[in-house]
Symmetry: C2
Subunit: 285 residues, 2 copies
């Protein structure tokens, strides 16, 4: 099987220091944690920004600090930013991080439908999806599709068929978030079969489903998204707080058992079809 | 197999007279069309109200006129009202029709998640779902679940397991609406398998998928939702405008070919587990 691409979702919009001693919140914490994740085997880092008080922010200046800091400690990891609508609703807010230039993000999240999280809705209207995709393509940023339902995968196929999504294609399939598709092998297999051709896919499990969904994906030839954004605990009984690097370590061990090597960031770029690093630009600092 | 329960979705929020010569808009048109649908074989009527200008309305007085008129021409058809959030967003608006009393609705729609329609989002937050369900149970109204994704069916199972949905259970599975689960036999089968126990389920196809999805459901032992709310055309080439009664006729023919008799409204009440008609009350007019 192909080498395994590990996408580290290290912070997210929700976890606070109270929820986890290990979730990186400040720019410095995020940068330090990315270094650990890269050493552990991550080739993509999925970044959310927080402001000085630890609250989610869409601000370009914070994202730019994070991207620059990460590039300083890791010259090669693939930089992916969030366009989440979980807190910020307007196109202008959600797309602001796409304007970072020193360095620019190489990928950005694009959730392919509206849905519910356990306690709130997540609205990604058809026009928002198209506007965000257009903004990404104008900046040569590759969308990181996020699909929480098979119908979102079906919608990806529609967008591809109508040239509203352009290659290369990378898709995270997220299972086990209450309100959307549950975490079963059947559902993962069904979602993967629904994908259009030539998509590099990764699977994520929310909460206690993270490790099993990652393991299924590894055995199925897919890739993984892993990290504290989706899961704060190392064990099902929630006694051992997880860290991003330790979660990645566990995935690497499973991959080793399955005979899959870990892709470097440059190998991941080639597998996904991202521009090679020379094209991406170097740190501005 | 069981007798077939036909749920007639006759108007919806979207079609106008310009879209279809046959869509019933005014109270009088709706009442007259329900009589035709009942004669054709419908045992449930899924009602949306329009105001004097033909625009969707949530107003109790309009719903009450419709329910009274329908009960006058059809003493037995099962009365189901919409709580759609497609146009009206607040709980007060969406739940207003539940307060009809002369006669009261026996069922009301409850969409079990947020999603996208082709051009806009449809937001049904977890708290809205719970509030609408509570309002229904307080009035002894049975929710008509609407599921456009397998994850919505998974969420129904969660709500049942946590006693937030109470028996009897009736579920419409809607396939082929762009932005949500596509219309395939695999997807219908997967959605049905995901249902909790003891659910009476019906399937609907949106647009050109209506007839095939209805046919699959008939052959699988499920029931159907059919009508102009979901599909305006009788043929795939969109040359013959459909009418509700003619769409029902076609479903009845397929059922006949499959050896399934058509359930009367009272038989449908018993199959679903709705209160018998004596309990429901009689027309106030």
């Amino acid at each position: 099987m192909d080498k395994l691409i590990i996408n580290a979702a290290i912070t997210g919009m929700v976890p606070t220091r109270k929820d986890s001693p290990h979730v990186p919140i400040s720019v410095e914490e995020i940068v330090a944690d990315v270094r650990r994740c890269r050493n552990a085997g991550a080739s993509i880092v999925h970044l959310h920004a927080r402001d000085e008080s630890g609250e989610p922010t869409y601000r370009l200046d914070v994202y730019q600090q994070i991207l620059r800091g990460v590039r300083d400690v890791s010259p090669d990891i693939i930089l992916c930013v969030s366009t989440s609508g979980r807190v910020f609703k307007s196109f202008e807010e959600r797309s602001e991080a796409l304007d970072c230039t020193g360095p620019a993000p190489e990928m950005a999240s694009l959730t392919l439908g509206s849905m519910n999280f356990p306690k709130t809705e997540s609205v990604n209207s058809p026009s928002m999806i198209r506007s965000l995709a257009k903004a990404m393509y104008e900046r040569r940023i590759v969308p990181e599709w996020e699909c929480f339902e098979i119908g979102m995968v079906d919608y990806a196929r529609y967008l591809v068929d109508h040239d509203l999504l352009e290659p290369p294609f990378y898709c995270n399939i997220l299972l086990g978030s209450l309100g959307t598709l549950s975490a079963t092998v059947f559902n993962l297999d069904a979602a993967v079969r629904a994908l259009p051709p030539d998509v590099t896919w990764a699977a994520a499990g929310i909460g206690r489903f993270q490790f099993r969904v990652n393991s299924w994906a590894i055995m199925m030839g897919g890739h993984v998204r892993v990290g504290l954004e989706d899961n704060l605990w190392f064990d099902d009984d929630r006694t051992v707080p997880a860290s991003n690097a330790r979660l990645i370590d566990r995935v690497v061990k499973v991959a080793g058992g399955a005979g899959r090597e870990i892709a470097s960031p440059d190998e991941a770029r080639e597998m996904i079809g991202l521009p090679a690093r020379a094209r991406v630009g170097t740190p501005a600092s």
